[in-house]
Amino acid sequence: MQIIIDKVKCEAKLGETLLTIARRNNIHIPTLCHSDALAGQGNCRMCMVEVSEGKTKKMVASCIYPVTKSIEVITNSETLTKMRKTLVMLLSARVPHNNTILKLRQEYNLPPVTRFKSDDEEECILCGLCTRACDEMGISAISTVNRGINKKVSTPFEEPSTVCIGCGACAHVCPTGAIKIEDIGEERIIWEKSFELLRCSNCGKPFITRVGFEYIKNKINTEIETVCENCRKDAITKKLRDIYGF
């Protein structure tokens, strides 16, 4: 099946999202709540595009809109830019000092938002990626709490979680760097909980929490070595070199 995005003809598979197709064709659509590792969420609405199907035209979130027939898509109309500007303005009002949003604001030529009272400490835009990542890990130590304008992300009772393994997937996936993860020596602190870090048996760098290591070991039910990702890659390269001699 073929669809047209910004006048470019693109091949599409049934059910693929518009964002996936656009990215494959190097067409830029801005996103905040999207991670290639996770299913689309449609929360930040930055990726909204205009879809024309015959005479009807509608605005859809490209990260979750599945393609089912030949359509024409516009990703950067005047209306879309105007709306994205307002969204960025709203986010700036929420997290006035966050670097990710600051950059975006400059990109859209917006002045600092002074009209509203903001929380100077706030860094989270509630994109929802962290809770998704935590769910994917099979842990679910964090979740969204409350609703409406009082929504936030937290551990149950806002206390250190009993199930968190300190894997840091939440912080890793966070687009605004709102989740603090601190590694000092052999200690990691995240979500106000302290974890012991294991050192890589090869390079000696602390790279995984002990509970995280045990969790993965149990999950895949095999013995694994305490080797960090870099060293593991190096080892594979070395092995290949040994076999093929290049």
């Binding site: 130590a141 979740s143 709490v145 009993t162 199930v163």
Partner: protein
Amino acid sequence: MENQQDFQYTRQISQQYPQDKRFLLAILQDIQKEYNYLPRESLYMVQEYMDIPLAKLYSMATFYKALSLKPKGRYIIKVCDGTACHIRASQTLTDEISKILKIAPGQTTSDGRFSLETVNCLGSCAAAPVIVVNDRFYGKVTPSMVKTIIDEYGGIYS
């Protein structure tokens, strides 16, 4: 304080339902009804029974208005602030109750007897403004009636 005995109810409530996620809300609502809030112990027990992460339970408990993590009073006074009540000055009722009970909406008196809540439309718009104490409706309430209503439930201890 809550003792072991009390949490037998939580177990009984949970076990009335199959271990299927879709009964979660119903279980939590029943626990809420029994204890007037969701005690932590109960949440731990439901977590175990349903085999569901605590974070999911906590998320539900804070999302739905019918559920509360803080103990509520024996008598819950709900002042309707639906549109019909609002334009017939329901705010003055909330103010008056607040004044008498010395608590703000969302709070419970220190003796644990009364909670004050404002709610979104109870569907008795024709009798606006309306307040409900537990399951009893009072219609066309004026600020001067408030004290009499509170007195029906034993009034405030001075």
